[in-house]
């Protein structure tokens, strides 16, 4: 029952965001700020994770597939496909659920417990729209871009690991990647990225917005935001794979 109550509250929270903005230019400014916070602010961690993810995947696939019967470019095709289909969008977004989600939740939660959200409401501002909408729009724009960067860097990591270990050359890797490339896979990856972006930003905003109490509860909301976002990402990962592949 509690799940349905919370889910209903979440839907009402989302519905409440969409009213006519008091001043569109302020919302646009805030969206650019959030794009910077979410996108540029997360770039370093995404670069590091994507690079090593590609490198390690290449080594592990090679470890499992080294055989005279299997052509080496197959390793490149598996790494590039798995990066595009699963690793880049899902792992990147799980990390972003931790980094971006906890930041959003604690920021809004702190505003709640220090009565800043009440101050917005008393001024006649739609607080959920003002606080959450720019974050959601910013996330929907920037997270797919981060996922594309992650796909690219996973492959760079794979190529470098292949060369450095002597398992396969960059030509072999790229040959495999090119041969197995399907534009639909990229589309699928971006659908995932957009879905996860919405989950991370909206679930985290929701948990921050309904924080009650003090510092302890802000921390608790932040934890809940990360946990529920991660669960929702994994659940939607399964649903999307079932529906689209």
């Amino acid at each position: 029952m509690k799940f349905f109550y919370q889910f209903g509250k979440y839907i009402l929270f989302l519905r409440g965001m969409f009213s006519k903005p008091e001043r569109l230019s302020v919302y646009i400014d805030r969206t650019f700020t959030e794009m910077n916070n979410i996108g540029i602010g997360s770039l370093a961690i995404v670069v590091i994770i994507a690079f090593f993810q590609g490198a390690v995947t290449t080594l592990q696939i090679a470890y499992q597939l080294i055989s005279p019967l299997i052509a080496k470019p197959v390793i490149g095709s598996i790494v590039s496909d798995s990066s595009m289909l699963e690793l880049a969008p899902t792992i990147t977004c799980l990390v972003l659920a931790g980094k971006v989600g906890s930041h959003i939740s604690s920021e809004i939660g702190t505003m709640r417990v220090s009565e800043q959200i009440d101050a917005l409401e008393v001024m006649g501002i739609n607080s959920s729209g003002y606080l959450a909408l720019p974050k959601i729009v910013g996330g929907l724009i920037m997270i797919p871009i981060l996922v594309i960067i992650s796909i690219f860097l996973s492959n760079v990591g794979g190529i470098i690991a292949g060369e450095a270990s002597g398992i396969l050359t960059s030509e072999e890797y790229l040959q495999g990647a090119r041969e197995s490339f399907l534009p639909y896979n990229l589309f699928f990856s971006l659908v995932k990225a957009v879905t996860y972006a919405f989950i991370i930003t909206s679930v985290s905003s929701f948990h921050g917005y309904y924080t009650h109490g003090g510092a302890l509860e802000v921390g608790s909301s932040s934890t809940k935001a990360v946990v529920y976002s991660a669960i929702a990402i994994l659940f939607s990962d399964y649903i999307l794979a079932q529906l689209m592949l």
Binding site: R23, V26, M111, E115, Q116, A119, V122, M123, G124, N126
Partner: protein
């Protein structure tokens, strides 16, 4: 003028407000007094719409606030300024941006006009030259004054203040009290202040409502308090001075 009629509110079965009815006059400093936990803050939050009362009406100059659709409620709220107990300044914005905030959201002023208005509001609360400071960089008393400046940035009709002197030293408290009184008189605002500071009551109060365990125990003019004959009110006043 604000009229409240039979306001009731319960939390988890505990009745916090038990049918409060009163009127807050325009251009006057109206004080809601009472001990902590007796419903003052809940009443104020019901009045500004932060809490929905279980029953009763809040009427702002013949507009029944409690029955307005959300969009019209927001229009009334733009005539309301509120000074929160903890100031509730936006900590990611500078002092200037805090005061400018509602101007930017609701007016078509140019940046230069907004700057002039911000400077005027800050001068009203005797705060000049701190425009670029962040709330974390100024004292508690200054934060309260910035809160007042932010509240009066738009041409408000109603000013609410929840415990304006909490956490302030006596001298700063007096400055805040005088500022609120001056602004109320100068702009003919309906001001409602929650307090348990009897010095504030006698210094700046016009009308008083004494809340005891969620009920309207006594109301009248400040000058009539001492001759009220209400034992609970007298005990409260005595305890305030002893405290």
């Amino acid at each position: 003028m604000i009229e409240i009629n039979n306001i009731r509110k319960s939390f988890e079965g505990k009745e916090v407000l038990k049918g409060i009815t009163t009127t807050f006059e325009a251009g006057k400093t109206n004080l809601v007094i009472g001990s902590s936990g007796h419903g003052k803050s809940v009443l104020m939050k019901c009045m500004v719409g932060l809490i929905v009362p279980d029953d009763g009406h809040v009427v702002y100059d013949n507009r029944d606030f409690t029955n307005l659709p959300y969009s019209e409620m927001r229009d009334v709220r733009r005539e309301i300024g509120m000074l929160f107990q903890g100031t509730a300044l936006f900590d990611s914005l500078t002092v200037e941006q805090n005061v400018e905030f509602s101007l930017k959201m609701f007016t078509k002023m140019t940046p230069a006009e907004r700057k002039d208005r911000v400077d005027f509001c800050l001068s009203q609360v005797n705060l000049e030259g701190i425009n670029s400071k962040f709330p974390a960089e100024i004292s508690g008393g200054m934060k309260k004054r910035v809160g007042i400046a932010r509240a009066i940035a738009l041409d408000i009709k109603y000013l609410f203040s929840d415990e304006p002197n909490s956490g302030l030293d006596p001298l700063t408290s007096r400055v805040i009290d005088e500022l609120i009184r001056d602004i109320t008189e100068e702009f003919n605002i309906t001001t409602v202040i929650n307090t348990h500071d009897m010095k504030t009551v006698f210094d700046i109060g016009d009308n008083v409502i004494f809340i005891y365990e969620g009920s309207n125990e006594w109301q009248g003019k400040v000058k009539d308090i001492k001759s009220s004959g209400n034992k609970r009110l007298m005990n409260f006043i005595e305890a305030s001075y002893l405290g």
